[in-house]
Symmetry: none
Subunit: 458 residues, 2 copies
């Protein structure tokens, strides 16, 4: 253990205050999909950085949500850790399934419920409060600290790379503490080393200029039938994506990584039971599902709508149909190349009239398991939680990890305190209040172990 | 011309009074979708039958809107004509598009505007007032008259067949004057001889018990992909329905009917232009489209919805998807048999878990063009309007014509006075006031020609 007792004591004694700060930030709506409250939330985040003793500024780009940048320097330090988090949240619908209002965080039975308490405002506040604790106890953080708090993660971080490019050098760091991180069902901390990339699209098929009485279905084309044919070109029953070249440049797992993957737990039965699913796609085995979640690309239909969606019957021939799709990508897949292949494939099958709106284009990124920063976080997890951590070579989810790794070579690791059943992106999102303290100490311990192992620069 | 001069004179002189009665009935809301005013309207309709000298009663069934039955007998007559109409109307939304309040009928520039003035209260009143005219002039109608005025046509007549079955014999007649009937853009009366049937279903495919983060799409099954595969089994690109036996028992058009169809006008360009459609399904020709509208079965997707349908992107793996479908049927197709074939087909393709809710099951019905009643209406149209009428062998739409034809062999014909641009089911529904007189005389002339041609029974 590298952390000193005074720091641990301070973190322990102030848990209630820290939780109030999580509730305070989570009470401010900031739904990036609808822009609701985003501006107000950015101002609050800036204020909270200043409250812990940091300097902060709001960066802006045309058409983008504001990005809040903050820093706290340690005199004489030649090492910098960057905390990447996001202050925006997912939409709250369906509202009727929430047991308490999503923007009025409330603690019940050891958990705090509210939109964003886990993803990602709780994590964001845990970082701020860790640095505040260092300042209160030692007068300074253990090294230079930078905060990069963006407001568009939940809509695919469309401007993060541009913000970083425009402010050359501002976000440079040695290592990055990524935005999320969780503790599994058995209480083991999870070290996240990568994320998948994503292409998010909205397809619109339109065959008429307005809805028609469905008696006209004998002669007039229905856009939904057309979309059904289009979608049937994308994926086969086993889940294999049929778009040409989709798998051509994938960088698979190394033999070391495959070894780690084999050793890591995967609760296949638990995953199926959580959603009452009968089986994995196409009857795949638990081992296949585990590999697919870590290293497999996906083609998902996230939304579809057309025509009459109310109770009872209405005989309508819809004029158009909308379909939202997300494709998760793995290292080696280049979003622009895949998008071009997709549109070319549609055109060659007679679908060049279909409108395709590009909403997200992000490559995947993966930090090496053997890097010093990954090893420091793994060791710190053992120290703080007293158990062997779970190594997640890559999340099945997506994030803009590539922005910092590609430009500055800064390794990023996902560490945090979210419970495995935190229901992010869903009603009744929550955190366990008893995990916050360990989550904060884990980050502190990881940074100190990294700093202790790192030789001076130059 | 068979009508006597005194009757024609009476009908002519009382047009203003008749229009007032249309306005009076249309001023009473009776929206079956919301039940608004339905009960009050049934009472008013009963009163209006009594006012012309008929007897009337209100029939009731659990959960059904009241059905108003009326009759006026002609002493010694062995022939009966039944008038089928409905006193319920479509909802009025969007209200802001009406130029005058939908339930305050008003005459402007030769048209009366209001919800129901054409569909179907104007038609209903035109029948009542024709019979009133006969009673005033001759003391009796030309034969026995029955009125069947239901209150649920706009929601698919779910109880009409049950009403008729429960009151065995009450609705027996030789011929039926159907509820609607119009005059086309060139002033030609349209004789409607049939309607298609319909199966209306809602399909629900569910693979999870709640929505999941779409990162799980690598392993967990998406119900929309499953629905896409299901739907791709139903129809091919040319519009051919692939469900086994779907076409097996269809009674095609006779050679006489095909001849009539060839002669009838069909504004293919106009239909495409109305909806800005590029072409008919699968590039079919105008002749093929005309035939399909009159005599082709359909499989239409009237609604589909799943997952996230808002602006921007949300990465969700939906738990379930809903799909509303209407299948239009033609004579010979038996709804129950087709439904069984459909569910069997789905089961044999591995879709027995899909939930299917049956919402409408109505067979088609078509009156033979060469039947005495059809011929009488065609000839009467020439007499009254002075032009060759348009023959519509079947509407592309659906209605409960089968209820009377199947049980009593009563041929039904759609004749009336609606202008082609009457905007039924839409804002600013209207009738042309100058069409009312001819519409009434057409019905009288048709009945008298039919009676003159019909030999005494027994």
């Amino acid at each position: 253990m590298t952390l000193d007792a005074a720091l641990k004591d301070y973190v322990h004694k102030n848990q209630e205050t820290f939780l109030k700060d999580i509730a305070r930030l989570s009470a401010q709506p900031s739904v990036s999909a609808t822009h609701d409250g985003v501006e107000e939330c950015a101002l609050l985040v800036k204020k909270m950085i200043e409250e812990i003793g940091g300097t902060a500024k709001i960066l802006r780009l045309d058409g983008a949500a504001p990005l809040v940048y903050g820093e706290v320097l340690r005199p004489g330090s030649d090492r910098t850790v960057l905390f990447y988090n996001h202050y925006d949240v997912q939409p709250v619908e369906p509202l009727e399934l929430w047991k308490s209002p999503p923007f009025k965080p409330e603690i019940r039975d050891g958990r705090m419920y509210g939109r964003g308490v886990s993803d990602d405002k709780g994590q964001l506040v845990s970082r701020l409060k860790l640095i505040e604790s260092y300042i209160k106890v030692d007068g300074t953080p253990p090294c230079n600290v930078k905060f990069c708090f963006e407001g568009e993660e939940e809509v695919g971080s469309p401007h993060l790379d541009k913000y970083v490019a425009k402010n050359e050098g501002l976000f440079k760091s040695d290592v990055v503490v990524w935005e999320y991180g969780n503790v599994d069902a058995k209480g083991r901390p999870v070290v996240g080393l990568g994320v998948k990339g994503m292409i998010y699209l909205e397809l619109v098929v339109k065959t008429l200029n307005r809805d028609a009485h469905s008696m006209n279905a004998a002669a007039l084309p229905n856009p939904v039938w057309r979309l059904v044919r289009l979608l049937s070109l994308i994926k086969d029953e086993k889940g294999h994506i049929k778009i040409p070249g989709w798998y051509d440049h994938i960088i698979g797992l190394s033999s070391d990584e495959i070894k780690v993957l084999r050793e890591e737990p995967f609760d296949a039965e638990g995953l199926l039971a959580t959603y009452a699913a009968k089986e994995f796609i196409g009857g795949m085995s638990a081992e296949e599902a585990k590999l697919a979640l870590v290293a497999g690309p996906t083609a998902n239909i996230a939304g579809i709508w057309a025509g009459y969606m109310g109770p009872g019957s209405k005989t309508v021939l819809p004029a158009e149909v909308h379909c939202k799709m997300d494709f998760r990508l793995v290292p080696g897949q280049v979003p622009d190349e895949l998008f071009d292949s997709f549109t070319g494939y549609l055109a060659s099958n007679g679908f060049s009239d279909v409108k395709i709106e590009k909403m997200t284009m992000e490559p995947a990124a993966r930090t090496s398991y053997t890097s010093p920063w990954a090893q420091a976080t793994v060791h710190a997890a053992r120290e703080i939680f007293g158990v062997k951590p779970v190594i997640e070579l890559s999340s099945a989810g997506t994030g803009p990890l590539y922005v910092f790794s590609r430009r500055y070579g800064a390794d990023a690791v996902d560490i945090g305190f979210a419970p495995h059943d935190d229901a992010i992106h869903a009603p009744n999102e929550n955190i366990r209040v008893d995990y916050l303290e360990k989550g904060m100490l884990w980050i502190g311990e990881a940074i100190e172990e990294y700093l202790a192992g790192a030789r001076p620069k130059g």
